[in-house]
């Protein structure tokens, strides 16, 4: 070191002292560290420790780099060895009551979805919620759960959740926030709440409603706005149009013989979808040739879960549905103003008259459901038609709105944003829902947000909204917080926390209580006290008993709303608002994504990897068009030069290893709608209406987390408030880009069918994998699904047969007539069995891990095919081809007839998978299970091995559940009862299509189902003798309609 450096580096105490002296009058200093912030001290430090400077500047010097390289090379080797995490165990000194290690506890709670409470029952292992099932006592669930309810537990443990309070982009403190709220509260108390706004989603929670009402009382000039991207405005406005007030419609599908869906996906996207699926399937359950089935007519644009089940499905663009509704209403004799004369050019001539006759033959036992995408007039027409058919009070029941304050949310939101723009809003409290991302493109929420002085956002994630807010308070997940919510019929469900907030998150209740001037009230106190105040007649002790019984059940009895008498307005006028739908050009259609919904589940790996119904697309959304429209676009599209980076290639490899090539590279098109543009890959969907382009919401997020950021394209960017669901005037142009989409099943390679005679789905029928008949055919030939005798010979085997005459013999029956393809079983299986998420690239390489899958097959013409779902878990063959080829005996037969997999013994030759004719085995090509993210460890089901790299895995009929119940039954000295052991897929199936049990017991439900004549096994001619069998699919078409 030169002397010069040394000079420079001398601790210049003199200058520091003088600096202090000159500053002394102005500032205090607390320690030398503070002084050390001075330039002088830094200079001294740098020259005294030059090595440190270099280090701190460059981050790393050569020697360190080499050291690290060496170390990481060594460590890279270590990671390859499957390492088990070090887990210290601590024994209970005084075991808490009810806590039996290894034995789960169940808590009833509710998940707010679309604002509506979905009853859940949560498994808790040693205080960790691991799996969500439906709550039997909840009217909206009946013990079943949809994919969103089940996957929400993954969100709880999401490592990307926001973990600290953020103030102006930095970590803030809760106490500072309290001070800030106090100041705001004081200021707004002075001005009566002028400029104070609350923005929430749909609120059905009585407690939260009470809090908001109290706030609006304290701050009379404050306003409460509600906005959700999938707000059910049309439904609300339709009811108001018909009846003059907001009412909720309850459909009794369990009493309906004829159902007409006008663009309504009531089995899946409806807030009561789980319940409706159950009711709907119950009316289609066939036990013998005498059974009856309901008949569903669906009119829709793109095949939905509901539409696929329709006995008659009519493809119409959304704008044409209104014309259809008018024609139908006219034919049914509905007398309202503005009905007009309408006709559809492409409606088969026998369709409408046959439908009308069918409906009129089922007066009082039919339902007409209008879907949320349809304008209020269609809803009003549906109400009028139900009234005309005498369904009201029978299959259609009206109740008061379950919302605290039903409003037209789009208007409410627009009002808020315009107030923000004009500077009327000083304080905005946003309770979740990420409005910056989900706002309609023509409502400039993000632009105006920064004009608000104090922006407070309560959210689970650091997302698009949180970065634009002064304060971001991490939200508590519903599994961490107290609350309540109303079910679709008004029943209040209680929400109780299963775990203390992982990251000190706050619930909406706890945030609002601060503004109420009651800091320190916990979520429990808020909800508990509210309900106590509602039960004044009870003594405090009696209330506690009552309260605990509510929590135990998860619902508050007697809170369901009573049916309400409503009368159609005399002056009901359904004149179209516009001058009539434009029929020229393309129509754009927005639908919620069938796996990640509106974007609130974008960062959920389970849902991202879940194959979307029908398309089997994973990890992306697409621009979906019908085959005919694709051909037309192919001819007519003009090529544009895109600006910006475009969509990128998706994934894909170098030239010598291209990965899935042309067949999975999809053409990227540019969509222009009302001056806004977005790029997306074009995907052909058979069965979609021509001349419309369907986009799913929820993708293209900028800040979602490691799973969801930058996936797909953002359909919100061209979705306006006016055309929230559909609109005409879309332009599509070619871009010369290609983008890889990955699907778990490839149906159609449009334009290059390698072998038309033996297309994928054609051969599914050729191979008798899906067996189907109409109800009429079934009655004439109940044995239609049976194998021909030459295929059922029980061929000899070289090896001695297993003895199946003792003990439990497990088997499963899957009723294809009940399965609606909602995917709930896949998520249930994933949660129960610790199934890994592998990512887009690996799915693209054909390595998804789901143990149960829903296959989709099409039959008939390309434009309007019949669509079939087939749920395929392991068949648990009695004569299993996988077993005899395993060189190490890692897959063996159990005396109970289950084909068991021993992970410890598996060496990974994958021969079993090759020899599995059903291809239900899944292989850990890499270390797919996440062994590194600590927050995900508690999510795992402790009864199921987390598989390591290089082993095969597959459906085990939830062997851990079987063993668990067997052990307890044995302890109690009894046999297992039928229905005591439920597999995860069976437990959750909303339509009870999956039934599992002991086939040796003739009285078991599964044995009875297997005795039905519709029973068949997949590929029985291979002599595999599958234990999982199917019941053939039946249609109930109207004989008066001749399908082409």
């Amino acid at each position: 070191m030169s002397s010069k450096d040394n000079d420079n580096g001398r601790l210049d105490l003199v200058s520091i002292r003088s600096k202090l002296e000159t500053d002394a009058g102005k500032r205090f200093w607390r320690s030398l560290e503070e002084v050390a912030e001075t330039e002088e001290y830094k200079r001294f430090l740098n020259s005294e420790f030059p090595y440190g400077v270099e280090k701190s500047r460059s981050g790393m010097n050569r020697r360190d780099a080499l050291k690290l390289m060496g170390a990481s090379a060594a460590l890279a080797g270590l990671t390859a060895c499957t390492k088990m995490p070090v887990e210290k165990i601590v024994p209970y000194v005084n075991a808490p009551e009810e806590f039996v290690p290894g034995k789960p506890l169940f808590y009833a709670s509710a998940m707010p979805w679309q604002g509506v409470g979905q009853g859940v029952l949560v498994w808790s292992f040693m205080g960790r919620p691991t799996k969500i099932e439906g709550n039997n006592d909840h009217p909206g669930s009946l013990g079943r759960a949809n994919i969103f309810m089940q996957a929400s537990v993954l969100d709880l443990y999401d490592p990307d959740r926001s973990q600290v309070l953020i103030h102006e982009g930095r970590v803030g403190s809760w106490s500072d926030f309290l001070v800030q709220v106090d100041e705001l509260r004081a200021a707004h108390l002075r001005n009566q709440g002028a400029g104070l706004r609350f923005l929430t989603g749909t609120v059905t929670s009585p407690t939260l409603g009470d809090q908001l009402r109290d706030l609006l009382k304290q701050f009379p000039q404050a306003q409460w706005h509600q906005y959700e991207p999938l707000a059910r405005d049309n439904t609300r406005e339709g009811a108001r149009l018909a009846f003059g007030e907001y009412v909720e419609t309850i459909y009794k599908f369990d009493q309906a013989d004829v159902i007409v869906s006008l663009d309504a996906d009531f089995l899946f996207t409806h807030p009561a979808g789980v319940r409706y699926a159950n009711d709907f399937a119950n009316k289609r359950r066939v036990t013998g040739p005498d059974s009856k089935m309901n008949r569903l007519y669906a009119v829709e644009a793109t095949p939905t879960i509901t539409g696929v089940q329709a006995d008659h499905r009519l493809r119409l663009r959304p704008s044409q549905v209104e014309i259809f509704a008018r024609s139908l209403a006219g034919a049914l004799g509905v007398k309202v103003q503005g009905l007009g004369e309408a006709s559809l050019p492409n409606l088969p001539s026998d369709w409408l008259p046959a439908l009308v006759r069918d409906l009129q033959n089922h007066r009082g036992s039919s339902v007409i459901v209008a879907g949320e995408p349809q304008p209020p007039a269609v809803h009003a027409l549906a109400h009028a038609m139900n009234a005309a058919l005498g369904n009201v009070g029978k299959t259609v029941v009206y109740i008061d709105s379950i919302e605290i304050s039903p409003t037209n949310q789009t208007q409410s939101f627009r009002q808020l944003v315009s107030d923000m723009g004009s500077g009327k809003v000083q304080t905005l409290i946003i309770l979740g829902h990420n409005p910056v991302y989900t706002a309609p493109a023509d409502i400039p929420f993000a632009e105006n947000l920064t004009k608000v002085q104090q922006r407070i956002y309560l959210g689970l994630y650091e997302d698009e909204t949180s970065v634009l807010c002064n304060w971001h308070v991490p939200a508590a997940h519903y599994l961490e917080s107290w609350g309540d919510a109303r079910a679709y019929d008004g029943t209040v469900s209680t929400i109780q926390p299963l775990i203390a907030p992982l990251y000190d998150g706050k619930s909406a209740y706890e945030l609002l209580t601060l503004f109420q001037g009651q800091p320190g009230r916990t979520g429990h106190t808020i909800v508990h006290d509210y309900w106590q105040s509602q039960q004044k007649q009870l003594s405090p002790q009696a209330f506690e008993v009552q309260w605990e019984s509510w929590l135990e059940k998860g619902v508050i009895d007697g809170t369901a709303f009573q049916p309400k008498q409503v009368a159609l307005r005399k002056d009901l006028d359904v004149t179209p608002a516009s001058s009539g739908p434009q029929s020229s050009g393309l129509e754009i259609v927005f639908i919620p994504d069938p796996t990640i919904w509106d974007g609130s589940f974008t960062n959920n790996g389970w849902l991202q990897e879940l194959p979307k119904p029908l398309t089997k697309l994973t990890w992306d959304n697409a621009v979906m068009v019908s085959p005919a429209t694709a051909e037309r676009l192919n001819r007519e599209m003009k090529t544009v030069k895109t600006q910006g980076p475009g969509m990128g290639p998706g994934t894909g490899g170098p030239w010598y290893s291209p990965g899935p090539t042309e067949s999975s590279k999809y053409e990227v098109v540019e969509l222009s709608f009302q001056g806004r543009k977005v790029l997306g890959p074009l995907l052909v969907v058979p069965g979609q209406a021509d001349d419309c382009v369907v986009l799913t919401l929820g993708y293209g997020r900028q800040r979602a987390g490691r799973i969801g950021t930058d996936r797909g394209f953002n359909a919100y960017s061209i979705r306006t408030a006016e055309n929230a669901w559909f609109g005409s005037g879309l332009e599509v142009a070619r871009t010369n880009q290609r983008y890889e989409l990955v699907m778990t099943q490839h149906h159609f390679v449009i334009g290059q069918p390698s072998n038309p005679r033996e297309g994928e789905t054609v051969s599914a029928f050729h191979r008798d994998l899906v067996r189907v008949a109409t109800l009429e055919e079934y009655r004439q030939n109940p044995d239609f699904a049976k194998d021909s005798p030459d295929m059922t010979t029980q061929a000899q085997s070289l090896y001695p047969p297993y003895d199946y005459s003792k003990g439990y013999q497990w088997g499963m029956s899957i009723d294809l007539n009940a399965c609606i393809g909602c995917n709930a079983c896949i998520i249930a299986c994933q949660a129960e069995n610790n199934i890994a998420v592998v990512g887009k690239d690996q799915v693209g390489r054909g390595r998804p891990m789901h143990w149960i899958r829903v296959d989709t097959y099409f039959r008939g013409n390309l434009d309007n095919p019949e669509i079939y779902h087939e749920t395929v878990p392991c068949m648990q063959c009695e004569n299993a081809p996988c077993e005899y080829v395993c060189p190490v005996g890692a897959t063996v037969h159990s005396p109970e007839g289950i084909n068991e997999m021993i992970y410890n013994r598996c060496v990974g030759t994958r021969y079993c998978s090759n020899n599995c004719p059903y291809k239900v085995r899944r292989f850990n090509f890499y270390l797919f299970s996440d062994w590194n993210t600590p927050s995900l460890f508690p999510l795992r089901n402790p009864r199921v091995t987390v598989r390591s790299r290089g082993v095969m895995e597959k459906c085990t009929y939830c062997i851990q559940r079987i063993r668990y119940h067997e052990i307890y039954a044995e302890e109690e000295g009894r046999k297992l009862k039928d229905g005591e052991v439920l597999t995860a897929c069976q437990q959750t199936c909303p339509t009870q299509a999956i039934v599992f049990g002991n086939i040796r017991d003739e009285n078991s439900q599964v044995a009875k189902l297997k005795a039905q004549s519709r029973k068949y096994g997949l590929l029985e001619e291979l002599n595999t003798r599958p234990r999982t069998t199917y019941l053939a699919k039946l249609w109930n078409p109207n004989p008066e309609i001749k399908e082409s």
Partner: protein, 470 residues
Amino acid sequence: MDPVDPVTEEKPAFVEPGSPWIAPGHSYGSVSDRIAGVVLGRTRKGWIFGFAIAFFLFLVLNYGITMLFFVGVGKFGINIPVAWAFAITNFVWWIGIGHAGTLISAFLLLMRQKWRTSINRFAEAMTIFAVACAGMFPLIHMGRPWLFYWLFPYPDTMGVWPQFRSPLVWDVFAVSTYFTVSLLFWYVGLVPDLATLRDKAKNKLAKVAYGFFSMGWRGSVKHWRRHEVASLLLAGIATPLVVSVHTVVSFDFTIAIVPGWHSTIFPPYFVAGAIYSGFAMVIMLAIPLRKWFHLEDFITIRHLNNMGKLLLATGMIVTYSYVMEAFMAFYSADKFESYMMLNRMTGPYAIVFWTLIACNIAIPMTFLWSYRIRTNTVALFLIAGVAQVGMWLERFVIIVTSLHRDFVPSSWGQFYPTPTDWEVLFGSLGLFFCLFYLFARLLPSISIFEMRDLVHKTAEEAGVIAGAAE
């Protein structure tokens, strides 16, 4: 003229009267000198160059395998449904290549085919190296390769045994037996030659090394007698292996129920294919070997002609198998079988299938009938190469096209090779050629003592020795 002592070679040379299996003019001494000269002479630049290329490929193999072991078997392009692809293709291909060596050394020995003499040594070496390459593949393509020993019936404390119904266990026995017998046979054959090299070597190290491995061979009658018996015994053991090993390998497929695998024609079809590809490999090795090391006198045009004929014969069996396989697929009226065949011919891998037909049937079966082509080294080399590629493609087609579209159409998939797939394929070639280069440099590529025997017998046949003795 006195009979020649095969060890001391002291007797004067005599002129061999135009035997077709060895060029005229060779004596015991000239045979020994010529063959041993390759080993004991200086290293040639061409050898270094060739070895360097092979060694580079060998490093590529090491890289590929290292990645496989560290990261996982997902480095291959395999998936569900195509859980086996390149690695198993390579395995079957390499095992098949090995077969020609055993056929030549054992089967033809028992058949008293004299023309085998000059090609059997390097063909046997080829067998061993090919089986070594082959044996590597099932191991590296396991999900957990560090547990490979679970396939062996070792005394496990938990009393767990391999699952003997699985053809993969049979494979373990078949391949390890094959490797052991081939190695023994090869080594036993080498012992007299190693002694020759020991005696001829000038280099101290070479003397010690060859001396060590020649196990004290002195060429006494006793030694020769025991050697003869051991060779015959080993030949007797090895001969059934020519048929059995590939039969067992074919069981990997026939035992399974996958359409395209589940076929009774596979054992003979695989054996014929194995010998076909094996002879193609022998030709591909023999032609450069005789050219570069000037061994044209020993590996004569007539040898090449014979091997060409064998290629033709086995190729015809293979052709017949293909035809029968396709015919049976349709004749069985089994929808899965017939679709499998249709898919092979017209599906996404149709180009591979038709290339295979061109390589294995169209090209060799057209040209090998011609004597002029069979005796043209360049043409024969190219045709053998084409057949070699064809045989690799055949295994690929059998494995991948059968798997990728089997029973349930929803699970149909596609296989695309990854860099690792190519690395281990070409890397295994590197390993093979590395070993072969070392072999050609360090050991006599042609059996010296058997060539001397051939010289003797040829002369005997021609009556020269008889005449001389009179």
